[in-house]
């Protein structure tokens, strides 16, 4: 089953910052940060819906997004090439 991805591998994306209630799987430390799409991960159901018992909702594309550590932490003391990789849903991402 093919997935229609809005962002290509290598695209720069910014993770949205939202005031949220309920269950969210986008980590706070990545909100507002810019990363690069590393891999297309398939389509999965939305965690915000699953947490409230909605199991038959639609799926959304999931991406492995790569962030430079120095962009995440002002005092990161490791080398410039160190990164974090996280799975982020398309509806949490904007072009950067």
């Amino acid at each position: 089953m093919s997935v229609a991805y809005a962002f290509e591998v290598g695209a720069r994306v910014r993770i949205q910052t939202r005031e949220v209630t309920g269950h969210v799987r986008t980590p706070g430390y990545l909100m507002g940060k810019v990363g690069v799409v590393e891999r297309h991960q398939g389509a999965y159901r939305k965690p915000e819906e699953l947490a409230y018992g909605t199991y038959d909702g639609g799926t959304a594309p999931l991406y492995a997004v790569r962030f430079q550590q120095r962009d995440l932490w002002p005092d990161y003391d490791g080398p410039a090439q160190d990164t974090v990789l996280a799975d982020i849903f398309e509806y949490w991402m904007d072009p950067a």
């Binding site: 910052t17 706070g28 932490w73 003391d77 974090v84 990789l85």
Partner: protein, 211 residues
């Protein structure tokens, strides 16, 4: 950061998160006993689930990694589709998909779930207590090299350390570097070298003892 909306996860100083509260222990016992008393759950079902849960080991992951070391075509398939690779090896992966991340001489992965403690249990066994604790979950994302040092693992400054945060339903495993001096070992002997910590990414596979 001042031009950004308030980060809803910034709750201030952390509180201790370790053993369950007494209230939750009482609640768990009450629910469990009521479920059995009312015939919703047969009394032996819970023990069966506990037995199954306790039977998970990292052996499937070690076997998967060893096969990826010796078979380049299988490695390529496994990197593309972890579930299909498990099917090939007769590993019962369960409901969550698997992604294997390949360590290279230039790139070292380490796995975490900062949000809770998601872990590739059916492939790596039950997560160690330190993996589930808040100290690891917060520190490895911010100071991975310091955490790796505490495990006795030093990664060179020209190698990229990549923290893989398991934020969705995909479970993650590291394909560690195959140590030098293992060319003579068969697949089963290679698998025996690989520990759970190697597959999480906090330690490097140790070469076999010299004869």
């Amino acid at each position: 950061m001042s031009d950004q909306p308030h980060n809803p996860y910034d709750h201030g100083p952390d509180h201790h998160a370790g053993a369950p509260s007494v209230e939750n222990e009482i609640l768990e016992r009450a629910i469990r006993e009521l479920l059995v008393e009312k015939g919703v759950v047969a009394p032996d079902v819970i023990n069966k689930f506990i037995t199954i849960r306790e039977s998970f080991t990292h052996e499937p992951g070690a076997r998967l990694a060893a096969r990826m070391w010796v078979d380049p075509a299988f490695k390529a398939r496994a990197l593309e589709d972890g579930r299909a690779a498990c099917d090939e090896l007769g590993i019962n992966l369960g409901p969550f998909d698997l992604k294997v991340w390949e360590n290279t001489p230039r790139l070292h992965h380490v796995v975490v779930c900062t949000l809770c403690s998601c872990f590739a249990t059916t492939v790596l066994g039950n997560a160690p207590a330190w993996y589930k604790g808040r100290e690891y979950r917060s520190r490895v994302a911010q100071s991975p090299r310091a955490v790796l040092c505490e495990f006795g693992t030093a990664i060179a400054d020209d190698v990229e350390v990549r923290v893989v945060d398991s934020t969705a339903e995909i479970r993650n495993m590291v394909l560690p570097l195959r140590p030098a001096g293992t060319e003579h070992l068969d697949e089963a002997a290679l698998a025996r070298l690989i520990t759970q910590d190697n597959l999480i990414g906090v330690t490097l596979v140790q070469p076999p003892e010299q004869a």
